[in-house]
């Protein structure tokens, strides 16, 4: 599955060994591949990759139909997300609030088929002094707003979750010395920090890493300034690890690094999208808020050595911030 995602991202013709191994797949093997693509929310990339395969690879009819139905669902959901995004941005703009869209549409634009990137929620950044206005505007429009433990506001508009952040960078609270929002450097720092936040908690899936890989590969700014931004954010070592993963599994020259990225691979493979498919996680997501938070805490503690190894300062800040916000609420 990883190899198919790699081919989709690179737009390269599939190697003959991949074609041969797909030709040898039985129905169960195809179903497993599709299931893994779903777990990692990269069904769109999987679809793109399979669509480009030579005709001698026969994709079973039921897999083809399931894939087409899923891609249609992605296209429809993305259209709804765009509509809600536009509604909310107009609402904020009419009140004079400056808003930045985090991830989502900017990431999708870098995909081989932008419409096929699965969008989850809408992440928006609003300057901290605008948060109260946001709360008032959404409530007045009939959309109740809740506080999230990570200090953002949560809202649901027409079935689409909106996460309104008062900090652009996950983990980091002091952004004065970081790149100006929304520069390409700021976006990459944020994408790397976001992956770390989830990898150090319940888990992270392949889609988030694909977002980073594409943004990093297509970055056209000053690489030195970008490196400095990662260093200032305390992400230098983490980004080295992340890039090793990208190079090993999604890059043009696999296994060309000496940095071992197998631990991140374990996290991605075991939990899938935001760790939702990790052992016991689905059960905890259906339970009370306290049990869910306890489950998250256990997972964070188990990944503490991993997180401390790559971003100790950010990890400690995140723990402190989450503890403060959870105790405070």
């Amino acid at each position: 599955m990883m190899e198919l995602v790699r081919e989709a991202l690179l737009g390269a013709p599939p190697p003959s060994w991949l074609v041969a191994s797909l030709q040898a797949l039985d129905d169960e093997g195809w179903r497993s591949l599709l299931e893994e693509a779903r777990r990692q929310t990269v069904t769109g990339l999987f679809f793109t990759s399979l669509d480009r395969l030579p005709a001698e690879v026969e994709v079973p009819a039921d897999i083809s139909m399931a894939l087409m139905a899923e891609v249609d669902g992605i296209l429809r959901k993305n259209a709804l997300v765009r509509e809600v995004e536009s509604t909310v941005l107009s609402l904020f703009s009419s009140a004079g609030l400056a808003t930045v869209i985090m991830k989502g549409s900017a990431c999708a634009a870098r995909y081989p088929d932008p419409g096929y990137r699965e969008q989850g929620d809408i992440d928006l950044y609003v300057q901290a002094d605008g948060i109260q206005s946001v709360r008032d505007l959404l409530s007045a429009a009939g959309y109740p707003v809740a506080d999230s433990p990570d200090d953002s506001l949560l809202c649901n508009v027409k079935g689409v979750d909106i996460d309104i952040h008062r900090v652009y960078y996950d983990f980091c609270r002091h952004t004065d010395s970081l790149p100006e929002v929304p520069s390409p450097e700021a976006e990459l720092v944020m994408l790397a920090a976001h992956i770390l936040k989830h990898a150090a908690g319940p888990g992270v899936g392949l889609r988030q890493i694909c977002d980073f890989a594409l943004a990093d590969r297509m970055f056209q700014g000053d690489r030195q300034a970008l490196g400095e931004a990662f260093r200032t954010a305390g992400l230098e070592r983490w980004v080295r690890h992340l890039r090793a993963f990208v190079c090993d599994y999604l890059g043009e020259n696999p296994s060309s690094t000496t940095n071992d990225s197998s631990r991140l691979l374990d996290i991605v493979a075991s939990g899938g999208n935001f760790g939702h498919y990790g052992h016991g996680r689905q059960d905890s997501l259906g339970q009370s808020s306290i049990k869910r938070k306890a489950d998250t805490l256990v997972r964070m503690i188990s990944r503490l050595p991993f997180a401390m190894r790559y971003a100790p300062a950010m990890t400690l800040k995140r723990f402190a911030s989450l503890s403060f916000n959870n105790i405070g609420r």
């Binding site: 679809f47 399979l50 669509d51 395969l53 005709a55 994709v59 009819a61 083809s64 139909m65 894939l67 087409m68 139905a69 891609v71 249609d72 669902g73 296209l75 429809r76």
Partner: protein
């Protein structure tokens, strides 16, 4: 008559799937290439049987009589699938 702008075609390795939004659910059908072509062409647009026949003539070069007969059959299916808007 206008073809529902919310119906969609997804193509994959020579197969074509049509999805039509119905209240509370989504209906999907596997369709052939010419059907998919016509949905692509007329989705969200006003059309007559003559427009469809002309599109079939242009694209596939079939005899006019057959194009008109096929256009009627396609419109009947679009009606059956609930894809036609007033």
């Amino acid at each position: 008559m206008r073809l529902d702008p919310d119906c969609r075609i997804v193509d994959f390795r020579g197969r074509h799937m049509l999805t039509v939004s119905r209240p509370g659910r989504l209906a999907s059908y596997e369709v052939n290439g010419s059907f998919a072509f016509l949905v692509w062409k007329f989705r969200g647009h006003e059309f007559t049987a003559g427009d469809i026949a002309a599109a079939l003539l242009d694209e596939y070069g079939i005899p006019e009589e057959k194009a008109l007969a096929d256009a009627g059959a396609v419109i009947a299916l679009w009606e059956e699938y609930g894809m036609i808007r007033p």
